[in-house]
């Protein structure tokens, strides 16, 4: 094999390319959290945290942590100028009401119809869905960042998810460590592939049927 899978940092960097000036964005736990590192003030992005923050800033300097100011991952954070804090009901009203422009989150499986599974593996201890089901149901633009295949090589981009779903028909775009794919009514349209990997090789490690973008496939090279 002559290709190199994207690292977590590279995936986050590619996901950051989905951000547009002025967007209100919710970032999930894991790789999506790293997307924040790519945000500059000029981009005018406002981060939402579902426990009740709009305008979340970076981690505090040592000595400035406050128990009363955390993000949805229970990490100590700061507020940027112009931030607001509010209750969980208000927070999910803005999520469910479609006011958060973009949600970027991780997944264990996605389907060609835009279904996502990321909260439960039958037989294992279930920790809970947290706010994930609300975020995928409410956000007008759901982008998934994920590994294309499981460690054993089995595909995670499927015709139908095998794991219990987090949401149905909600994912708009999948950015994996091998390719970028857009969910359309016709199926998954591949728009970018990492260097050294052919469309046919990508299809071979994907259960869902892939379509070539009519505009051509670009190199996924963050």
């Amino acid at each position: 094999m002559s290709f190199k899978l994207l690292s977590r940092e590279q995936l986050a960097k590619r996901a950051a390319a989905e951000l547009r000036p002025g967007m209100y964005v919710n970032l999930g736990i894991g790789i999506p959290t790293l997307v924040a590192n790519a945000i500059t003030p000029e981009m005018n992005i406002t981060l939402q945290s579902e426990n009740g923050i709009l305008g979340m800033g970076p981690f505090p300097f040592a000595g400035f942590e406050r128990a009363d100011l955390i993000n949805a991952g229970k990490q100590t954070v700061t507020l940027l100028p112009g931030a607001s804090v509010f209750s969980s009901a208000d927070s999910f009203a803005m999520i469910r009401g479609g006011h958060i422009d973009l949600t970027i989150l991780g997944a264990m499986e996605v389907s060609e119809k835009g279904d996502i599974a990321n909260w439960m593996i039958p037989g294992k201890m279930v920790k809970g869905m947290g706010g994930a089901m609300d975020l995928v149901a409410g956000s007008p633009n759901v982008v998934v960042v994920m590994q294309h295949c499981a460690p054993d090589g089995s595909p995670k981009v499927l015709k139908n998810c095998k794991l219990p779903l987090t949401g149905k028909n909600c994912v708009k775009k999948i950015i994996s460590d091998r390719a970028a794919m857009v969910v359309t009514a016709e199926g998954l349209v591949v728009t970018e592939i990492i260097p050294g990997l052919s469309f046919e090789e990508l299809q071979a490690c994907t259960e869902a049927r892939l379509l070539k973008s009519p505009e051509g496939i670009k190199v996924l090279n963050p």
Binding site: G52, A72, S88, M125
Partner: protein
């Protein structure tokens, strides 16, 4: 001189929870360990009431928050959205000692809000086509499917606020607000513990988060630990 009357003020946490008995349904504020009623939870542990149903976003950690009441086996059922940080919880759940109803976080917040606002049920897009919608009514509005979720109510709500005035108006601090304001509205008896009491008229009426009508009992809390679950900092350059 006008004498300030804190008629809702209770002397001790034990007195504040005196009528919480075995089998009660409680709402307990907080997100993780942020904004939890530390004094009231400790009082429940000391009193030893059992068979509690707790509606709370999380279940604390092994030795703090609601984890304290799991340690002592006082909780029968949890209604939560995420319970990942607690080993005792895991053991009790897997052995069948603890019943758990997992609810999406936004549905949980709205079910509590609805409970306090006199709305028995509502349609939501969250969870459609997933396990949480199984056995529930669904309906199409404007071409999209929604699932009917029932409101939640409780016998008691245990709330943590930053400060209160003599009337029982409450203000929360930063993200310690979380589920507290909705829970304050959705129980027969709401008990609020606060870090600070201010005088009558000292709170800007525009800046009150929970109006006094919802609060039945006030407790000035002591010895707040306010433990941080994930202490994250950035390096100075």
């Amino acid at each position: 001189m006008k004498v300030l009357k804190y008629s809702k003020l209770i002397d001790s946490a034990m007195d504040a929870i005196a009528d919480i008995n075995d089998g009660a349904t409680l709402m307990v504020g907080g997100f993780g360990l942020c904004g939890i009623p530390e004094n009231l939870i400790e009082a429940l542990r000391v009193k030893g009431v059992k068979g509690l149903t707790c509606i709370s976003n999380n279940a604390g950690v092994d030795d703090f928050g609601l984890g304290k009441l799991l340690q002592t086996g006082q909780i029968k059922k949890m209604i939560s959205s995420y319970v990942g940080e607690n080993k005792i919880f895991e053991q009790q759940f897997l052995s069948g000692k603890l019943e758990v109803e997992l609810t999406p976080q936004g549905n949980l917040a709205e079910r509590i809000r609805a409970g306090g606002a006199g709305i028995p049920a509502f349609y939501t897009p969250t969870g459609v086509g997933t396990l949480v919608a199984e056995g529930k009514e669904t309906k199409i509005f404007d071409g999209r499917e929604y699932v009917l979720e029932r409101a939640l109510k409780a016998d008691f709500a245990l709330i943590k606020a930053w400060r209160a005035d003599p009337q029982g108006n409450l203000q929360y601090n930063m993200t310690a607000m979380n589920f507290n304001p909705m829970m304050a509205t959705a129980a027969k008896v709401t008990i609020a513990e606060v870090e600070e009491l201010v005088g009558e008229g000292e709170m800007n009426p525009l800046a009150i988060h929970t109006p006094a009508v919802y609060v039945k009992r006030l407790l000035l809390g002591h010895n707040y630990e306010k433990r941080i679950e994930q202490r994250t900092v950035q390096a100075r350059v």
